[in-house]
Amino acid sequence: MPRKGCLGCSFPVIILVVVILLALFVIGFLSGPLGKSMFGDLGLPFGTERPIPSLPAETAFELFGFPIANSVVGAWITIIILVVFSYLVTRRMKIIPGRLQGLFESLLGWLYNFCKNVAGEENGRRFFPVVATIFLFVAFNAWLSLIPGFGSIEIINPEGHHIHLIRGANTDINMPLALALASFCFVEFFGLKTLGIRYLSKFLNVGQFFRSLGQIFKGKVKAGLSGLITGAIMIIVGILETLSEFVRIVSFTFRLFGNMTAGEILLLIAIFLIPWLFALPFYGLELLVGFVQALIFAGLTLVFLTLATAHH
């Protein structure tokens, strides 16, 4: 009579599962480079070759004479999956949702609450499309690059090298750069639209300087001089604000690119060192990191949008 063990399975099942996992681990260990250096080459064919990461994305094929990189193929797959899911969910919308519609409603509702918590009621509604697009695109790019097929299908590209056909879009530095530029443009656009041309007075802060010059000419020398020094400091603060706007682009790009590339290289090296089982905890880490990086990109965009449209 099988007794109740842990996780609802009986004890013999658990012992069987543990033995199988240990066997897989030992076989993987013996066929990887660690086992080969410790016990000699046992002739097990399960090892992989040493990963050679190349940071710039390679050309996959040519389309009408235009070279298409393999990370662009990955981005296309993400777009197709997102569009297909959106179409399926909104095809026959019901007041009491079915399962797929309920899943997407809960996801978008959570994002909408997040926007409203950070940006307030009506600003949250205005910024929600931008933030949700960035979040969904980055998250699905990161998660879909864990599916088998991304980074395993090899073809020979028009230049004659052996390259992988599909690569996660976040690991090419151009995609985070494009998203960072888009986020920058949206921040400036919403700031100018809300505050008008006075939004630029945050960067060209010369009002105090000229006011104190006027004070000196009208005769109030002491107040004018102290105001002059404050005005000079305010001009420097304006220059620093402009600089920080542009440094934001660099920081966004390298944060997303660095996390995704480091995760991919970590997975490749984990699979190379001990095949088959050692990479599973790192898969979990990659899932978490993909979600957190998407949330951080979208959340920081939301914070900068809120700061740009804040009335003084």
Binding site: I52, P53, L55, N117, S251, F254, R255, F257, G258, N259, T261, A262, I265, V292, L295, I296, G299, L300, V303
Partner: protein, 76 residues
């Protein structure tokens, strides 16, 4: 010292020295966040959100150091 040895030394130093700062920073952020939650357990929602936000900034610096180490090790 030949260039190969120097390159290995550079990779090790870049990774280890560059990652000390962000580790310390994230520890300090967690310290202050936990102090805030201990004083005021009802504000734990906003405190956690802000803690994750600032941790992202600190983590990005560590990722810059990691990128430099990877470029040194595998491409140079």
């Amino acid at each position: 010292m030949d260039p190969g040895t120097m390159k290995l030394l550079a990779v090790g130093l870049a990774a280890s020295l560059g990652l000390m700062g962000p580790a310390l920073a994230i520890g300090l952020i967690g310290f202050s966040a936990l102090q805030g939650i201990a004083r005021n357990p009802e504000a734990s929602g906003p405190i956690m959100t802000n803690m994750i936000l600032v941790t992202a900034f600190a983590e990005a610096i560590g990722i810059y150091a990691l990128i430099i180490a990877i470029i040194l090790a595998m491409i140079v």
